[in-house]
Amino acid sequence: MKANNLIYAPALKQEFRCRVPLRDARQLFLVNGTVQGGGAPLALRLEEGEQLDKMLQIIGIRSAEGPRELSFSESFHFGPRSAGRIILCAHTFSLDRFKTVERVRIELEEEARAQFVVMQNEHNQADHETFYDISLAGGASLDMVFLSLHGGVIRNHIDARLCGEGASCSLSGLYLTDGEQRMDYDILLTHQVPHCHSNQVFKGILDNNGVAHFDGLIKVVPDAQKTEAYQANHNLLVSPTARAYTRPQLEIYADDVKCSHGATIGRLNPDELFYMRTRGIPVAEARLLQQVAFTNEVVEKISSPELRERMQVLVEKRLRGEFSRCQNCSKNCC
């Protein structure tokens, strides 16, 4: 499938009428797991040296016409020295109890460069589990930002392998839960060869009875010397009944490496809150400013300014609890 030839699907456009497409993006719909609902799985291949001129936004939707339980796969193959930016969105068209299992294969050959933004925004009855199988050859670089904004149960399993020297992988994520929502990240990042770099920053804000699990393992095999690998997971509990579980782990079998990991579970800082209130900022607004500030570190990793701004607005609306107020459709995307 040639990405530069993809076109916007007019039949579906009206479903997203409240949303102006990003100027710098092409859109493709993945309806119940197949391209434009036509039955074919998504398999994108970039040839050697091929560069995607615009971002490719893949809008995955689950609709009432499809089965309640569905599993499907996608693959993204980046040939040597190719480059592209992909946005993967997950939405639901109806409030059915969808259960989705998705397998995403991302393969970067030598010196390929890829940026992914994954935006998960479904509804409280949706259960979406995704397995990301990622491999990077020598000199390849992958920058991936996950935004888990809304969903009954969202589970992301990431298995990323750095297979060629000089590969570099950055994984960042933000998860926001409220009500009875649950979000899990389960990450295995393996340094299989020397001289690779990886960085992970995952942050979550948990409200009401929301629950999040973070289970992250960095594995450095014997002889993967000069590895640099960092991992951080920070959780903010904004209600007394929200819960976060975190297990940052390192398994290092080489002796000349720089690795670190850290995890925190905390609450909003009361000194900051008081300071803002003395300036006349009402307590609810002050709490919101603090939460938005907490999310910035992740959202700022989105390199496209247009997309980043849009995601900042979306995250802020999500934190304000304004998602359900949009009258245009049920997608909660604006």
Binding site: D271, E272, R277, G280, E285
Partner: protein, 252 residues
């Protein structure tokens, strides 16, 4: 002159420990009051209680501000009513830029007064104008609130915020601590520019030198949670020379 603040027999505790033990103080519009006193005498507690910090419990007494029961108001309501606290240790807020912080504060104040929010252009103009008061560089506006600021920059930021909010009663808690002479002059001149007949200042300080720049009408000495001496500005010089011991002996 109109009475702006009336404190009567104010007692406040943190946990079981009583820190303020019967404060009486009256401040009229147009006045500058200095509060001095040794460490641990309750100066910062008094300012925190006036600003509405909930770590302290008021156990007795009353505070009337502009005819209202101040103690019944939340910290933000006090701010809307015109109270400002300049912090001894300004708080760093990573991820919230100075400009967004001030925009949220100024527009909330306007909303409370039934005014439209400022446009982006009006706001930036106001910000530039007030930053000039304290010789603050415009590069500060995009940075996180107080993040990576030096001690002097943080204090200047407090005075800048005060200039933006134009309070009727400003309480400056040891704004001079940690300042070199130049920063002290800048901070003091910022205060003097904001002073007029309808507002009042409470300046809490350890040292006489700040009072060379901000000339008080009255000086109070606080000791063990009570005001043990009230006098004119000459008292500061006497304290500079002789310390507090003689006053403490006198009061005991």
């Amino acid at each position: 002159m109109k009475t702006l603040l009336q404190i009567e027999n104010l007692h406040a505790s943190v946990g079981e420990k009583e820190i303020l033990r019967g404060i009486n103080l009256e401040i009229k519009a147009g006045e500058v009051h200095a509060i001095m006193g040794p460490n641990g005498s309750g100066k910062s507690t008094l300012s925190a209680v006036l600003a509405g910090r909930d770590t302290f419990t008021v156990t007795e007494g009353s505070v009337t501000y502009d005819g209202r029961d101040l103690l019944a108001l939340s910290p933000e309501e006090r701010s809307w009513a015109g109270i400002f606290l300049g912090f001894q240790y300004p708080v760093e807020i990573p991820g919230v830029s100075n400009v967004n912080f001030m925009k949220a504060a100024v527009n909330e104040q306007r909303k409370q007064r039934g005014l439209e929010p400022l446009t982006a252009a009006q706001f930036l103009k106001l910000m530039r104008e007030k930053m000039a008061y304290v010789e603050m560089d415009s590069s500060f506006s995009g940075r996180g609130v107080n993040v990576g600021f030096s001690g002097g920059e943080k204090k200047r930021n407090e005075i800048f915020q005060m200039a933006m909010l134009e309070p009727r009663l400003a309480i400056l808690d040891e704004t001079d601590s940690g300042l070199d002479v130049d920063a002290l002059r800048i901070v003091a001149s910022g205060v003097n520019k904001l002073k007029h007949a309808d507002n009042a200042f409470i300046v809490i300080t350890h040292y006489q030198r700040l009072l060379d720049y901000i000339v008080p009408d009255v000086i109070h000495v606080l000791y063990k949670g009570r005001i043990i001496k009230t006098a004119g500005k000459e008292l500061a010089l006497e304290i500079e020379k002789k310390g507090y011991d003689w006053l403490i002996h006198e009061s005991e």
